[in-house]
Subunit: 331 residues, 2 copies
Amino acid sequence: MKKLINAPERAVEEALAGMARAHGDLLRVHFDPTFVVRADAPQPGKVGIVSGGGSGHEPMHAGFVGAGMLDAACPGAFFTSPTPDQMVAAAKAVDGGAGVLFIVKNYTGDVMNFEIAAEFCAAEGIQVESVIVNDDVAVQNSLYTAGRRGVGTTVLAEKICGAAAEEGQSLAQVAELCRAVNGNGRSMGMALTSCIVPAVGRPTFAIGEAEMEIGVGIHGEPGRERMMLQSADEITDILAATIFDDLPFQRGSQVIAMVNGMGGTPLVELYIVFRRLAELCDARGVIIARNLIGNYITSLEMAGCSITLLDVGDELLRLWDAPVRTAALHW
Amino acid sequence: MKKLINAPERAVEEALAGMARAHGDLLRVHFDPTFVVRADAPQPGKVGIVSGGGSGHEPMHAGFVGAGMLDAACPGAFFTSPTPDQMVAAAKAVDGGAGVLFIVKNYTGDVMNFEIAAEFCAAEGIQVESVIVNDDVAVQNSLYTAGRRGVGTTVLAEKICGAAAEEGQSLAQVAELCRAVNGNGRSMGMALTSCIVPAVGRPTFAIGEAEMEIGVGIHGEPGRERMMLQSADEITDILAATIFDDLPFQRGSQVIAMVNGMGGTPLVELYIVFRRLAELCDARGVIIARNLIGNYITSLEMAGCSITLLDVGDELLRLWDAPVRTAALHW
């Protein structure tokens, strides 16, 4: 295992210490329990938005903490859910009196722990709503999930809900918006290589030199099909067709299109995929109103990509375009 | 070789087509000769800034085209210099009457081709100044270079000179500024793995499962020393010590610190390196005034990182902080 780390068991904590040092203008890192919080939290009267999940998907979620996006992120160990005490501490730190939204990716551990945390918060008088993101069209059930997995749409939901909270929308409104984003977003990914979880020290899955995994999960969970490596255009066709088949993206629909790298994929390759995706959208009369191309929800150093399409109206686009100031998204 | 491409010989062109499609608000891509240019070029009365080099280092340079940074970028084939006709066409497209600055990384092919292009431009009445960036402290001569290689400081020079040009500084001033940035910037990199150039199809260099290459070049050129893999802190110590020894970063100096990923390194690892770098700066009384952590000058999917430190006064910081609107840097 070749990694730029000091010790597997200290890697998450040391990376967070690096983030704290690098982005002191945006965020603070609390340890024990561990969470990353906006430097200016709590914002009185603003809905606090909290997400979290296993580490290894950076920049998600800590890289999205800041004005216009998340108020706090709870990082677990690599590919391991954070614990309820982290979530409760984060909720307390960001509650400005307007309640807290938990954005939860659909993995059994995350869902359970965020549920427990919501109960604790309620007992302490903090109003919490939880929305589960389950946008991955690849498989119905998976290694760590009942139902569909939560993947790329999470990034878009965090940005859009962050903007809504920033402009003073209520907890009920922001939660409803998050459900709408989840309902209109679909994703699918693929992998060329496995990643290696630091504490494990060997690849999560074995894959041949000429194979790829279509529909892979962000923890290297098995997808739809192990097949021989195909061209970038053929791969894009498979991912996009599955997404298009799942939601009636109408002719004339506007979408936000994300081509996301899994961590070890060069940017040139992501642009090659985006180029083909744009051709496919053109052919269907689907309008790419905005795009996001790069590493946003990764799987350590896995090579591969995922595509997310989010059907948006003008209101969601307006919220997408609103200012954001985080380590990983900034405009 | 596992890559998300269609054909090695079309990969650069297809990626540029993807960029054109994704970033039509920022840039245009011209083919034959190939260059990427600001959507609003030429800017009358503004110095045009042109850079370029082999592809495979994305987002550099095309990802830095836009307001406040580069006016044009000339991408060559992977790890291969662009040709003078590309540079001349780019210079013509961006010349707003105030002349053009070529920012050239010190590789033999790039230097020669930018020199020829400058002569062509002069013959056509376009005033050109060229500045060579040679900030890599690892080795004195290298596989493709007489003298030091040009690496990470190039990114910082492009941002700072772009800001100066944007505010109306003259060609002589912007060129002088670029020389000052190069004089005050130092970098060094390391690799855990090789990359694979698409047209070659096999790793650029062989490296053992427990080895690393210290001082590697951005094309996988040999560095200072092949050694056994060490911890992130030990690696950071080696890179930083070599940089500190090369330039008298004084107690009380302000620096812009970049921890750059080579393409295949997860963000957590870069933050672990940054954390240690910050400790080393603290110990020397060197003040990290700004930082940049992520993939900015890469080597395809190589795993590894580089550190750049640029000694800056308040004027360079002001230019660093000025607005920038490109695909890869945006504030």
